[in-house]
Point group: C2
Chain length 643, copies 2
């Protein structure tokens, strides 16, 4: 309760305009740099400026700059970004400044745009500030900006700007967290309020977390019944295999619909894809970009492809090999330890400790490998020299995703396909589900909280009575928090859960129930982390969960093969086949048949369930029809009589 105590009012700068975003220069800030940066941020669009309202923060060391925007700048940026807003007839229309009268509330930006949208728009304007000629940065003559290069991104890259973050609004945050935590059934989260405060991508994550948890409930009930009654016959495998394959398809298909609905209401469904400016770290000799017609660094894509093929992919495979080898060594070691323990008949405490040694060392090994790999992947992706930030992020995500996937599932796949030991699989699964979830929650939430408390011990006295402290102190203290690490690890956790549920719940039917319990606490820890432990992240417009949608669907396809294989090796099914005098070849043929039928069913289901609900398709058609009709009407109006 130290650094994030509410602050009474934040709208005290420049005639009560709310500060939205803060920039903190590296200490000690050079006066000429600060002056120049402020002039660029305030400057006219025609001169490459950002046209923002800028206030030098009245902080102790003079490194803070606070940004805000006039309604005009906000509305124009809304148009250029292509956000859709409710028009007077209630449907969502891409905002156009010239027709702003058609959009209710467009004269009141605080009501028309959410906090997250305003911060996004200010960030967009800030990033668009650029120089018109090649210019050295005042105070740093060795740093030169080329025309069109984003000033703020480059200064961040060079460390001249240390921090760049959106500001919390304590009253709104207070209302939001109250609504979030006070829900008795925690799954019904205030998604629209989250979106208004944190933006689309964060809201979509929490929405997906809730959606996923609810979708697990039927499976959890079914599994709990089977587990409690200790039912174990042929049907169990078949039922769970078919159920989990259908479940994974249906969950992702209905999520797409849910997501499209949300994106429509939020005005991001038809967000225009923009041609991105080059990343600050993109380098190469200057050349004319064929798309924009501007001079900018250019790196030929064949060189990039060569780097990916010859260096990145082999390196990834080396790491995958290390992870896989570690896993196999661990499995053998554990078997050996257990065998020796049983031989020694459990004598001595030391022996009992030794029993857990393989697990502990393997866990440490994996954690270490994870850290090294993440760093290696970042360096490699950076070295591949991608032009656009989105490509960079995608490449990095795919690299990390593949590694984590192998890390999390290779052991289970090895036990299933190679060792064919369903008993061991069940044991591993239950320990993974219970132990690693507890560790995760601790690592994600309690650990950062403790670290923060420890770090801020010295300054604690000065923040005790922050009701009286100037507002600017709260801005600085927000900047002192660590930057939000992004949603990757959170999605990764759900990805692994989705894998456990769809791949292996026929072996361990309690999986879904354990996941539901875990996710209910997960909502709490994730939201707490977001609201209180880290800097507010910049909002990010999104219409879907992006690469994760694909990742979850690919996992759903793996589920078919795995489930069918588990059926053929399960002792109950083997027994059944022997009773009916089937050869192993025949039972294998049945399993292949089942696999093909399930894959077909999956594809048919994916096609049969439309990606958008009916009303939304009507709305989209209406929109398209109106824009086409407008063109035709204009033609009729201008039509000449026959000559």
């Amino acid at each position: 309760m130290s650094s994030w105590t509410p602050v009474p009012c934040q709208c005290c700068y420049t005639s009560c305009i709310q500060s939205l975003v803060a920039i903190q220069l590296r200490y000690p800030a050079k006066a000429e740099t600060k002056r120049w940066l402020i002039s660029k941020l305030e400057g006219h669009k025609k001169e490459g400026g950002a046209h923002l309202l800028v206030h030098p923060g009245e902080d102790d060391d003079g490194t803070l700059i606070l940004l805000s925007a006039t309604p005009y700048t906000l509305l124009k940026a809304t148009e250029v970004l292509g956000l859709a807003k409710p028009s007077s007839d209630g449907s969502m229309v891409a905002f156009s400044y010239n027709n702003k009268a058609d959009f209710p509330n467009s004269d009141k930006p605080e009501a028309f745009l959410t906090l997250a949208e305003r911060q996004l728009l200010v960030k967009y304007a800030t990033d668009s500030a650029k120089v018109l000629q090649e210019t050295p940065v005042p105070g740093y003559p060795e740093r030169r900006l080329y025309p069109g290069q984003s000033i703020v991104q480059s200064l961040q890259e060079w460390g001249i700007i240390e921090k760049f973050y959106p500001l919390h609004v304590e009253e709104e945050l207070h209302l939001l967290t109250r609504a979030w935590y006070s829900q008795i059934h925690r799954i019904g989260q205030p998604i629209d309020a989250i979106r208004a405060y944190f933006g689309d991508s964060v809201a979509l994550y929490f929405s997906f977390l809730g959606f996923f948890t609810i979708s697990l409930v039927p499976m959890a009930i079914l599994g709990a019944v089977y587990h409690c009654l200790s039912l174990s016959f042929l049907d169990k495998y078949l039922l769970f295999a078919v159920f989990s394959v259908l479940w994974s398809t249906m969950t992702m298909e209905f999520w797409k619909r849910h997501c499209a609905t949300k994106a429509y209401v939020w005005g991001t469904l038809h967000l225009k894809s923009r041609f991105e400016a080059p990343r600050a770290r993109y380098w190469g000799p200057s050349a004319l970009n064929p798309v924009t017609g501007r001079w900018e660094p250019y790196y030929p894509s064949w060189k990039r492809k060569l780097r990916i093929m010859l260096v990145s992919i082999p390196t990834v495979f080396v790491f995958l090999g290390l992870a896989f080898d570690g896993m196999i060594m661990y499995l053998y070691w554990e078997r050996w330890v257990q065998a020796s323990y049983q031989q020694s008949r459990g004598s001595g405490r030391l022996a009992a400790v030794c029993l857990y040694l393989p697990s502990c060392i393997y866990t440490l090994y994996i954690e270490l490998l994870n850290v090294i790999y993440k760093r290696a992947a970042t360096i490699l992706t950076e070295w591949e020299n991608h032009r656009a930030e989105s490509t960079f992020q995608n490449q990095l995500t795919v690299k990390v995703l593949v590694f984590r996937f192998i890390n999390c599932f290779s052991g289970l796949f090895y036990i299933t396909f190679y060792m064919q030991d369903l008993q061991l699989l069940q044991k591993r699964l239950s320990s993974l589900l219970i132990i690693s979830q507890v560790i995760n929650q601790f690592k994600e939430c309690l650990l950062p909280l403790l670290l923060q408390k420890l770090q801020q011990q010295p300054g604690a006295s000065h923040r005790k009575n922050c009701k009286d402290a100037p507002v600017v102190d709260s801005f600085v203290s927000e900047g002192n928090l660590s930057a939000y690490p992004g949603l990757f690890d959170d999605y990764m956790e759900l990805f692994v859960q989705f894998g456990y549920a769809s791949l292996f719940s026929c072996v361990y039917p309690l999986t879904a129930a354990l996941l539901v319990v875990n996710n209910i606490t997960e909502i709490w820890t994730d939201s707490f982390k977001l609201c209180r432990l880290f800097q507010k992240p910049f909002p990010c417009p999104a219409a879907n969960i992006g690469v994760w949608q694909v990742a979850f669907e690919v996992l759903g396809i793996f589920a078919v093969g795995t489930n069918c294989f588990i059926i053929t090796i399960s002792p109950e099914v083997k027994e059944f086949c022997q009773d009916f005098g089937m050869t192993p070849e025949q039972s294998l043929l049945y399993a292949i048949g089942l696999e093909h039928i399930l894959v077909t069913l999956k594809i048919v289901l994916a096609f049969a369930i439309p990606d958008q609900p009916h009303w939304l398709r009507i709305k989209v058609m209406q929109m398209e029809y109106h824009s086409w009709d407008a063109l035709k009407q204009a033609e009729i109006k201008r039509a000449l009589p026959i000559c």
Copy 2:
């Protein structure tokens, strides 16, 4: 050489404006109907008219109406349809009438728009003629038009208009056919000229036919080598299986690229999808359409779905069952006949004839079933009461496609999977490839030609000296030809060929070579059919081959399973496995492994080969960037100084 003899000049009506499209009323035409129709077609857009140049044809029975259009009408329709045209910097830009100065040649419609485009635009204008209030048709008081209903489509539906067809331009046709037939290597067709004369969909078909034929060549060479050297060992199956799976993927992926390039150059790549007007046969109580806000017939989609589920799908399955049963009966019958023939040691001519009886009767049965099914499918789809013509066509295509697929392949699948008789499979394949191709060519081209000759015998004397006959007679005689049956059967033939090549060429390596030979004559018969045997079809804008792309890709997926299965049952592989002491179960496991690897490879390939070539992606990005940049520039120009 009777009905299509060249006519010296066709541009003799209304001050030398070329007639593009003809409408023929049912004989005897009522004068008031004709007068009213002409007034509507000439009428002003504001009054629901089509704004066309109309000339009552000076034919003997006064049923002909000839249509043309002013440059203004053509250019405006180009804009509304969203066709892209080369702008002054050479890139393709959606045509805009207000910026017509940016498009070279836009003042000369004959050079700016191809014949096919002009005819398409006239058809579009004609279809858009409508009444503003509910009106009875003059001369047919029992027929009433509701506001917004297309006049010409409704009159066609009611039989008041008997024919509606675009006109040939004999000089252009002559040039086109010369270029088409005179190519020594017939695969290099003048695709752009075909497109200029017949429109996108026809040109895409011939382009695909050529592309597919060329793609078969490597496989044909490989297969011919294997066949001639009578090579037959393990590798053959494995090699051909892997090759044909990769081949099917690569062919369709590279076709997508080729097709995107063509569509870009033709200006149809980014064709706007329009909200279609209801079909003339769509019926239901009048209701407000939520998209257009107009009163029109409305039929709830749940009723349609019920009809599809409860009637259409069961009916289709009944027909599929009939086809399947016929196939099985035929196979048994033929086995029995051959067994008896061998018992009787080939004595007597009658016995030899009987040997071919099963084939003949089965072929007749299938042909009969085909005809009945096609009619049933049309009636069913009509009865399902689809609102838009495109949905209707898609539903009909899928119904017919599934049936034909079962008809063509169920026998081969049955022999492969159930009887596991590769010898019989090879025999069937070779007979199908040789005999049915010959029959097809005969049915498609020679038969219609003969029928036409027979039909036109009586009128032949009067057309002998048609150089002197008025132009209008040639228009009438064009109308007397049968309507072009569309591209369905032509694509279907390629679909079956693609299936033979990708599914079974490991069993009969000569497949590809036979197909190449067939396709070279196919190009000739198809083009002759199109140019000379039928009415000129209306051009249809298209950016791809639509549902056929999906159909071919699905076949490619079937190819993986079939090829892997053939490998496991091939005697060579079985022998090999026995030599190495593998159990059948193990060899089956290897086959499953191979299948999974091939499917994965297919997916990876499909993702790795971009759907558009690099230069085209740059062009598309340029286009998007410019439209976005224009918006931003406009913002900068209008930007106000900070207040």
